[in-house]
């Protein structure tokens, strides 16, 4: 290797070192440690006791709450992520039109993402109250509104509503991507006589797929890890109807002092997220288009 290249490599590692050290010390190290912890019975105070795979077998065969939480997490992710994307896409498309006060709308739509979650949750508690504004609106259409946060059937839809409230984050990204689509494509389509709807499906959506894909992956990971909403709004209640994976492992680790068990849950969650992310990447080849890519 030439002297210059070696020097360059040295600089590379020097500049990359904050990240490398951070990764090893704060992520890789604890991850490896947590594999070990997940194979022990550990209360975080006394020395861990080796139990082999017992935590995992207990999780998968004996713990009804785990399965409930897993199901709830799937339910939440399966609805909130696509719903958030569709609404984000819709809002972005609206904002992309030449409407008056577009900047104001853009700000308003992004604003909910900036409000601290605790404040949002407090407002949602009032909005979702049995005699709250949401049910008043439903009442206009003669739909008897449920007690959202109190009933096992309705508490998950209520959490999903709260997640949709934050769709503005995706909107901003999608809007930026929309602005980047070359005008020529639309002009050419117009000359060929394509309707606006046809233009949307044949130009806008395909051109946006990388951003949609990004939002899908981040959304999936975020949804599987949903914590604050659940913790503040319902604490997993009633009777674990809204309990999801991360609040469950938080309780096990920091409230019940079952560190080993909690680590096992976290690795199960890791596996679930990994599988879904891989699935998304696998299918991505079929529906995500990159402009520079030649097929």
């Amino acid at each position: 290797m030439s002297k210059l290249r070696r020097r360059e490599a040295l600089w590379f590692y020097l500049f990359a070192s904050p990240w490398i050290i951070g990764f090893i010390v704060f992520l890789l190290g604890p991850m490896i440690a947590s594999i070990y912890i997940s194979l022990t019975d550990w209360d975080s105070f006394t020395p861990p006791k080796w139990v082999g795979l017992e935590n995992y077998t207990r999780l998968l065969t004996e713990d009804p709450v785990f399965w409930k939480a897993l199901w709830n997490t799937f339910y939440y992710a399966a609805i909130s992520v696509p719903l958030g994307l569709v609404i984000g896409l819709w809002l972005a498309n609206l904002l992309n039109k030449q409407v008056r006060a577009r900047k104001v709308f853009r700000t308003l739509i992004y604003l909910p993402t900036l409000v601290p979650l605790v404040a949002t949750a407090m407002i949602f508690k009032m909005v979702l109250a049995p005699a709250g504004p949401l049910n008043d609106v439903l009442g206009i259409f003669h739909i008897p509104g449920p007690s959202w946060l109190l009933e096992a059937v309705w508490v998950k839809p209520a959490l999903i509503l709260l997640s949709v409230w934050g769709a503005g984050g995706a909107t901003v990204l999608l809007l930026a991507a929309m602005k980047g689509i070359p005008r020529e494509l639309y002009e050419a389509a117009e000359v060929d006589g394509a309707s606006p709807i046809r233009q949307f499906w044949s130009i806008t959506v395909p051109q946006l797929t990388p951003i949609i894909f990004f939002n899908l992956i981040m959304g999936l990971i975020g949804a599987f890890q949903v914590f604050s909403q659940v913790y503040i709004l319902t604490k997993g209640g009633p009777n674990n109807a809204s309990q999801t994976m991360v609040p469950l492992l938080f309780d096990e680790a920091f409230s019940f002092y079952h560190m080993g068990y909690a680590s096992a849950i976290s690795w199960m969650l890791f596996a679930v997220i990994l599988v879904f992310t891989l699935l998304a990447f696998r299918t991505a080849r079929r529906w995500v288009f990159y402009e520079t890519e030649v097929k």
Partner: protein
């Protein structure tokens, strides 16, 4: 997209870190800087004391420590105040990281620590210091015990009491509640005080401290004397059913729906302060919330069932296993629970001091900050009725089992027997007899 990315509440942040598949509790090994038993003096020490609470708690603890600094200048105690709902986690990580506090505040979950050998038995230290716990604190002297050893010295302690709306009582010509009221007397009064849909006789008893009182009044027990859960017994079922009937059969307690409609996080305390409910059962802290309320109120001891029984709230001070100088730490605790220091607890309106002498003093019975005459004798009167709540090591899990198992019951969708039978099964897997 979810909202997680923008909102980093401390716990949320922690939770997200965990979810990456990691529990970041390792590393951070303990270095022993800061430990100094300098000088030849055996009690000279730098101690760390952890407590939970808010501003007023901080002020009160600090005032007591300042008094101590005057008396024992060689013991330095650094106060660490941790917000309520982060306390257990913070202390847990401090201990796991090898930097546990020397003195720590403990309460219902005391035996999480004692059963795992994280706090020290204090019997020997107490007898060496000549401290008679039962003389100083009465019946609750050995409240924080595990396997016949005392692990914490009571510091704050007050029974749950009845707050009643005097104006509403007088309007209906009902006499003030007394300790001799039976369940039927209470129910009768609640019925008279209820205006359907607008005003309720009683705030309800969905919290363990409330309905457990009725259980013990009825001769039931949550954990029996041999350490096994006993919640499916007829006494427990009857008591819980009575509490549930107040809501759904008699309509004298707001339902969860009613509460949710009063506003975000409105519970019994806030509903009472607004005059929406005529009677509320809670701890001493209700007073500070009511000194500014417009309603006319007073306090009374809890009514009785087959016998008197009432939950007590409080906390104690414990010495951690890793304390550098247990003798000095105990000396500090001894002083902090002495009448001189305990007076501060009532002077600032923080809580009920555990020291009996102070509870009977004028400083407690007529606090300077009280804006109206309040029957403070109630605390002394109630202290004889306090039952011994089961502070088992799996306290948090037990509470979660009740929360989960009673969710449908408090919605009126299940009867007490069904709910408690299921909870009993769950508890049998959680509670291991010691």
């Amino acid at each position: 997209m979810t909202m997680d990315r923008a909102q980093y509440s401390r716990r949320g942040f922690l939770g997200m870190g965990l979810a990456a598949g990691v529990i970041t509790l390792t590393g951070c090994g303990g270095d022993d800087s800061g430990s100094s038993s300098s000088g030849g003096n055996s009690t000279a020490a730098n101690l760390v004391m952890t407590v939970w609470g808010g501003e007023n708690d901080k002020t009160t603890y600090q005032k007591r420590l300042d008094l101590m600094a005057k008396k024992y200048p060689d013991i330095k105690v650094t106060l660490q105040l941790i917000p309520n709902d982060g306390y257990a986690q913070k202390v847990q990580t401090m201990i796991a990281g090898g930097k546990g506090p020397d003195i720590m505040q403990v309460a219902e979950s005391v035996n999480v620590y004692s059963s795992k050998n994280q706090i020290q038995p204090l019997d020997d230290l107490a007898s060496k210091a000549g401290l008679d716990l039962e003389k100083r604190f009465g019946s609750i002297g050995k409240l924080y015990s595990y396997q016949d050893k005392v692990y914490a010295v009571p510091d704050r302690s007050g029974a749950m009491i009845v707050y009643y709306n005097k104006a509403l009582f007088e309007a209906k010509g009902i006499k003030a509640p007394t300790a001799d009221w039976t369940w039927d007397d209470a129910l009768g009064a609640f019925k008279e005080l209820t205006v359907p849909g607008k005003q309720w006789g009683y705030a309800g008893s969905g919290w363990w401290a409330q309905w457990w009182s009725f259980v013990y009044q009825n001769g039931g027990k949550i954990i029996d004397d041999s350490g096994k859960p006993a919640v499916a017994s007829d006494e427990v079922i009857e008591a819980l059913q009575w509490a549930g009937d107040l809501i759904f059969k008699h309509g004298v307690v707001p339902t969860q729906k009613d509460y949710a409609n009063m506003g975000a996080d409105v519970g019994g305390d806030a509903a009472f302060a607004n005059g929406k409910v005529a009677v509320n059962t809670t701890g001493f802290w209700g007073i500070s919330g009511l000194t500014k309320s417009k309603i006319d109120w007073d306090i009374a001891p809890l009514w009785k069932g087959k016998q008197q029984a009432v939950t007590a709230f409080g906390s104690g001070l414990a010495i951690s296993r890793t304390a550098k100088n247990p003798e000095a730490a105990f000396k500090a605790i001894d002083f902090l629970t002495s009448p001189e220091a305990q007076q501060q607890i009532i002077a600032t309106g923080q809580d009920v001091p555990a020291n009996i002498e102070v509870q009977k003093s004028d400083a407690f019975l007529k606090p300077a900050w009280m804006t109206k005459p309040v029957n403070m004798d109630v605390f002394g009167e109630s202290s004889d009725f306090v039952y011994r709540a089961p502070f088992i090591p799996a306290w948090n899990e037990m509470q979660k089992a009740f929360d989960d198992g009673l969710a449908d019951f408090w919605l009126g969708k299940q009867d007490a027997r069904t709910a408690l039978t299921a909870i009993q099964k769950r508890l049998e897997t959680i509670v291991k007899p010691s």
